[in-house]
Symmetry: C2
Subunit: 260 residues, 2 copies
């Protein structure tokens, strides 16, 4: 089994949560990959540099100044600090972007009504599994920042959840893959105000019912869409759970929400 | 032959020079490694962030704020832009720091009269050749930013010339290695004011004579010390030359200064 584990920006931004998460992640045996966010830190550094963060519908607009900021913060500051901390915990991490070894060639999002700027979408089948397999089989743990490239020299900003799903799909041709989304909730909640209202299992039918009931928060919908898309493309299991539960979620005794 | 090629900050900081250099580097056939600087860009970003660059004897003092700046700029902005540009030129680059795959474990420089802060020195024999060999043998081109780590979670700032020499020495146990220092002069100059006064060959005896004559500029001395140290530790050839001559300097028709 390969564990493809995504950890969100709220964990990355909290040193105590991050330290605990990285210790748990380092303790996961076998082959594993980490994908991290870092949006809040990018926003803070951008503010200090006088570069305003712009969003439309919750998505960052990545202009020329902003792609430099996220390249620095995601690809440099966050990625290399995570790698150094994993090394200290005995995990032989190697930090990457999608440009490295051409692992994730992407396409700059076409301008329709909104110009998202230097944002990359990943075409189906674009991810190169061979270099990841090379690293995993050598006992290394790839750590991805949410950056891709266009093949013409331009770094692109790509959603970390999407990168995680794309990597999981590409690797599922070579290994059984469990994709785990770690965030600051215990799973998909039936009641956003009740942290213990975790829905243990969601399949397509249950998802339709939940959507009809209108109980799911807006933030979770892209994660669920990514999850179903990954499963339909060959990923064995998808889990959504708390960063503190990552160790359990790589065993049979899963916490959080199982998508199937 | 493996070419270990270091390119200095003045080239990195000049888009036209950099583009030409990367095109020439991409065209070098066979196994190769790039090590880049980036100090001027780090200084500019640090200035914008209100972090003053401090130097003693030409060496950057790396306090806690500064190590974050160089981690962002060297490990993120410069490294990932170089990787994306090499990918566009058909070179399958993979960007790394010394923390990645634990390739360059270093030791924080002890405080004697000067506290250099988060600066890393590389103990003899510390560089791990195995992960570099894995990448080279898979047809990948490692691109190193001048960062190492202490094994306890701390990124350290390490001189790029020193990293290049250390990598060249470690690889010389596995391959014949030519170490090439590329900068904005045509080689080691007999007369700093005359760009065409290149000394074609320097050995230990000639070096002693040149030192006695006092004709060498201060900036070149650490490069020459690194070069002799590398040769004494197994590196086959060391060249010092212009970034524009990198393609020639990977053939027999070398330009620049050969150290032997």
């Amino acid at each position: 089994m390969v564990y493809v584990i995504k950890v969100g920006g709220n964990v990355i931004d909290n040193p105590a949560l991050l330290d605990r998460f990285l210790a748990d992640f380092a303790a996961v045996p076998g082959k594993k990959i980490l994908i991290h966010g870092g949006g809040k830190i990018a926003t803070r550094i951008g503010d200090k540099l006088g570069i305003e963060s712009k969003y439309i519908d919750g998505r960052r607009i990545t202009d020329a100044d902003t792609i430099d900021v996220v390249t620095m913060v995601y690809g440099g500051l966050v990625n290399k600090q995570v790698v150094a901390q994993l090394q200290a915990k005995g995990c032989n991490a190697i930090g990457l972007t999608g440009a490295d070894a051409n692992i994730i060639p992407a396409v700059k999002r076409p301008v329709k009504t909104i110009d998202y700027g230097f944002v990359g979408d990943i075409p189906a089948g674009a991810v190169q599994a061979a270099p990841i397999k090379l690293l995993l089989d050598a006992g290394l743990t790839p750590v991805f920042s949410p950056l891709t490239h266009d093949g013409n020299g331009q770094i692109l900003n790509t959603n970390a959840d999407t990168i995680a799903a794309s990597l999981a799909v590409a690797l599922s041709a070579h290994y059984p893959v469990r994709l785990i989304y770690c965030f600051e909730k215990k799973g998909v909640l039936r009641n956003a105000a009740d942290d213990d209202s975790v829905i243990n299992l969601i399949n397509r039918d249950i998802y339709k019912t939940l959507l009809a009931e209108g109980v799911l928060s807006d933030g979770i919908l892209p994660k669920l869409d990514n999850a179903f898309s990954a499963i339909e493309s060959g990923v064995k299991e998808v889990l959504i759970g708390h960063a503190n539960d990552v160790r359990n979620n790589t065993t049979e005794a899963v916490a959080g929400t199982l998508i199937c």
